[in-house]
């Protein structure tokens, strides 16, 4: 199981700010497939993935028990 957090506009699709998902794969790309299968509406949105408080790319290995999906930043 892995905990996935959602922020901003993404929560309007997922209707939750975090959830536990069953995941037995290796890469961020594989995890995103699981997430998008559950929440198809995310496909049309722009977001980045963070692991251990850093942005990671699709080929990165999932090595944390928490992953965050981040929509475009709007600070300042």
């Amino acid at each position: 199981m892995i905990k996935v957090k959602y922020f901003g506009m993404l929560t309007e699709i997922t209707h939750c700010s975090e959830e536990q998902l069953a995941f037995s794969g290796t890469t961020v790309e594989e995890l995103l497939k699981v997430i998008v299968t559950k929440h198809p509406g995310l496909k049309s949105l722009n977001f980045q993935v963070a692991q251990n408080n850093d942005i990671v790319d699709l080929t990165a290995k999932v090595n944390a028990d928490l992953i965050a999906l981040l929509p475009p930043f709007a600070g300042g």
Binding site: K5, G8, N53, A68, L70, F73, A74, G75, G76
Partner: protein
């Protein structure tokens, strides 16, 4: 490399002018400082397809944002000869005309404070995972994206 303690950045609601004035006053005892520079981000009443923004509701991935603010501070101390640096950002509702970002740098001499403030503001906008819901006067909303 000097390391500095992580500082509290997030403030609930708008940043008041009293808070900003107090921050300035607290530096009177630091007499090695010869120059301060301040950036204030203010919520703008954008007109989007005829609808006017009345407030922005800020949320953040706070754990990551605090980490990023710490990294940005350390990078600025490394890059510029600064005496001190303060960053505050709002969470929750900030109405148009109110302040949502306060960046304050101080140094012995003036030239670095101009460069440092621009570096800090651009880094914060690009790297801090903060999200903004622009709320219109009719209570509909859209999500802000930094350009």
């Amino acid at each position: 490399m000097k390391t500095h303690k992580p500082k509290k950045v997030f403030i609930d609601g708008a940043i008041s002018s009293e808070f900003i004035a107090n921050a300035i006053a607290k530096h009177q005892s630091k007499t090695s400082i010869g120059a301060h520079n301040i950036f204030l981000g203010q919520v703008r009443a954008d007109n989007i397809d005829g609808k006017i923004v009345s407030a922005i509701e800020y949320t953040a991935y706070e754990e990551m944002a605090n980490d990023k603010f710490h990294e940005i501070r350390e990078a600025a101390f490394e890059k510029f000869d600064l005496t001190c640096m303060h960053i505050y950002h709002s969470l929750g509702i900030v109405k148009t005309g109110e302040i949502c970002l306060f960046v304050f740098v101080s140094a012995p001499r003036r030239k670095v404070v101009f460069k440092a403030i621009e570096f800090l503001v651009e880094e914060i906008k690009a790297k801090a995972p903060i999200f903004g819901k622009e709320i219109f006067e009719d209570e509909t909303h859209q999500w802000k994206v930094n350009s």
